[in-house]
């Protein structure tokens, strides 16, 4: 009843090919943007912004990147934690070499370094597929971790071996570093994530997206149609690593404020992969849903004992969180193996007929 496109006629292909061709989706999107840009900064305190909204946005961006590679192009990667690190370290080096250039430009540029690294580690993908490619990308993860720890030039030879963010401003407002307010950092992250999400939506609905999906679904047929496999896969690796790189730079400069090797370890690669699988392979929306679920579930679970007034030790809460998160992941994968995005799709199809199904 509510969600029904009856009577919404399209008279041009342009209108039919819009990102949100159905009016209800369009209004829903406006509502979400309104919430993110206006309501959330007004009602949320620093804790909410800093430990929920900002990391969720950053991980959603990384998940979009991995989804382009794994969900759309069908190439499994376990190296995205490392690619995030490349973005972070590149941004750090850029700011130390060119401190006068605005940090936002550096963040966008650092993605290109990650893209270049992703390109190189994507080269084996022409010959190896599936699990074997996953192992090859695992090698990239370990190599990058080694590089972040051992190449002192990357962290400017400082004693701690960590990279630290100094204060950066935009229009004289501090947006990175210790003096930046969470709300300003939140706005920067939100703007970048919104922009790159729009780019990703444009890419996947056009020619490049169709090439990627064709390679994913049947690479032999794609080749016979005239799609060159290697450039298509390498483009997917590059674009995907670009997103991971920007997410990594945002993570250090807009959220953590400092980072070391452990910030980009294999656990991060798995975390992003889980977000993509739980959210829905081959769906930009799914990347957001996955990031929201995987990141916020532990936060929520940790808060529950306090809320209901039960007093259990912090360590116990931590263990409980792991167990419940794992159980819920299994539960959702059994209910809907294709992730939250498919669940939303099914809900929409049901809503079209509700409340008068035939």
């Amino acid at each position: 009843m509510l969600y029904r496109e009856t009577g919404q006629f399209k008279t041009t292909y342009l209108a039919d090919m819009a990102i949100f061709p159905i009016r209800q989706d369009y209004f829903l999107m406006i509502g979400i943007l309104l919430f993110a840009y206006v309501i959330a900064p007004l009602v949320m305190n620093d804790f909410w912004l800093n430990s929920i909204m900002i990391p969720t946005m950053i991980f959603a961006l990384a998940a979009i990147g991995l989804n382009i590679l794994t969900g759309y192009t069908g190439q499994l990667s376990l190296g995205h934690g490392g690619f995030m690190g490349v973005g972070a370290y590149a941004c750090y080096k850029l700011t130390s070499y060119f401190p006068d250039v605005n940090i936002i430009i550096h963040i966008f540029l650092s993605g290109f370094f990650a893209a270049a690294v992703g390109f190189v580690f994507g080269l084996p993908s022409l010959r190896i597929k599936g699990f074997y490619l996953a192992v090859a990308t695992l090698a990239s993860q370990f190599f990058l971790e080694w590089a972040f720890g051992r190449i002192a030039w990357l962290y400017n030879y400082n004693d701690s071996g960590a990279i630290e963010v100094s204060s950066r401003t935009l229009f004289d407002i501090p947006i990175a570093g210790a003096s930046a307010e969470p709300v300003t950092r939140y706005f920067v992250v939100l703007a970048i994530v919104t922009f790159l999400t729009w780019i990703a939506l444009n890419l996947v609905r056009g020619r490049f997206g169709r090439c990627w999906m064709a390679v994913r679904d049947m690479d032999i047929a794609a080749e016979l149609i005239g799609i060159k496999l290697l450039p298509t896969k390498l483009l997917a690796f590059s674009v995907s690593s670009y997103y991971a790189g920007v997410a990594g730079a945002l993570m250090v400069f807009m959220w953590l404020g400092a980072a070391e090797v452990e910030s980009f370890d294999i656990n991060h690669s798995f975390l992003i992969l889980f977000m993509v699988i739980i959210g829905g392979l081959g769906s930009i929306l799914g990347s957001f849903l996955g990031a929201i679920f995987i990141w916020n579930l532990p936060v929520l679970l940790r808060a529950i004992p306090d809320m209901i007034g039960v007093n259990i030790g912090a360590a116990t809460v931590e263990h409980m969180t792991f167990m419940v998160t794992g159980a819920l992941i299994i539960f959702f994968l059994i209910v809907e193996p294709h992730g939250f995005a498919r669940l939303w799709q099914i809900t929409k199809e049901k809503l079209r007929l509700w409340p008068f199904p035939y």
Binding site: G206, R210, I220, L224, L235
Partner: protein, 282 residues
């Protein structure tokens, strides 16, 4: 058997009157396969086969199972590279033919076992057929400006014409993995047509279809051939369809060529009859 021969003679004598070349539909040779041999290890899939395809004709390749028909199509569009022999296409010697060369030069095909992109909608599947004609850069596509936008609209209009032609408007947005077999075959034909091919290779387009679906598919093939002048190479097991649609037929058996000629010549050929019906051994 004498009857058949004389019958054949009559047909041959009457042939010039109904010769389709007279109407100008059939032109010069567009593809020539010259002494092709293809083997996989010790197995000879194709053994010294030569034939040609003329512009605008419907050329069938028939033969019992395992005769090497699909292998021959795979050689023509570069998926297999024959060890011996040449492929001439449109005046150029492509030895070896490569898949992207075939696609760029207007050879499109459908597959015996449907090779659609199962996770994509009908519309997207047919749009992939236009990929070689889209030139928008990554930046234009990413920002949805310039050619990134105009090309999408232009090709969408073309694809909608194909969707109309194949009468699959209702399944435009459906992921093809959910479609029934007959419709999938039709979508696959649509994807091949979207490339505006000069030479269309159809590998058993009617396998597993009922009579009505076969009639529909035959109609589409005839329409494509007549309206767009597309040259068609057809592999098919239904002899009724082959004899009705084809201008010329080449018969393969165990990788070798048995016969080549008009449907009537071929159906009267003793070797062909033996291959299909078997010969009595004393």
């Amino acid at each position: 058997m004498n009857d058949t021969v004389s019958n054949n003679d009559q047909m041959a004598a009457g042939a010039p009157a109904v010769d389709p070349t007279a109407g100008g539909r059939i032109g010069d040779v567009i593809l020539r396969v010259n002494e092709i041999s293809l083997s996989f290890g010790g197995v000879k899939a194709i053994n010294d086969v030569s034939f040609d395809i003329k512009k605008g004709e419907v050329r069938s390749i028939i033969g019992p199972n395992g005769a090497g028909k699909s292998s021959m199509l795979n050689c023509i569009n570069g998926f297999y590279q024959p060890q011996v022999g040449h492929i001439w296409y449109d005046g150029v010697d492509y030895t070896p033919m490569r898949p992207h060369l075939a696609a760029e030069n207007g050879i499109a095909r459908t597959f015996q076992n449907i090779a659609l992109f199962k996770g994509m909608s009908t519309l997207d599947n047919i749009m992939t057929g236009r990929i070689l004609k889209q030139k928008a850069s990554l930046l234009e596509q990413a920002l949805y400006i310039g050619r990134g936008k105009s090309e999408e609209l232009e090709h969408r209009a073309f694809v909608e014409d194909i969707i109309d032609f194949l009468e699959i408007q209702a399944i435009r947005r459906t992921p093809v993995g959910r479609l029934p077999y007959g419709l999938q075959k039709r979508v696959e034909l649509g994807r091949a047509l979207a490339a505006e091919p000069t030479l269309l290779l159809l590998d058993e387009p009617m396998a597993g279809m009922n009579l009505e679906e076969k009639e529909d598919m035959s109609r589409y093939i005839i329409d494509v051939n007549e309206q767009y002048g597309t040259t068609i190479a057809l592999i098919e097991h239904d002899m009724g369809v082959v004899m009705d649609l084809s201008d010329r037929v080449v018969v393969l058996d165990h990788g070798s060529k048995l016969a080549d000629g008009t449907p009537d010549e071929v159906s009267a050929n003793q070797n062909v009859i033996d291959a299909y019906l078997g010969v009595a051994h004393e």
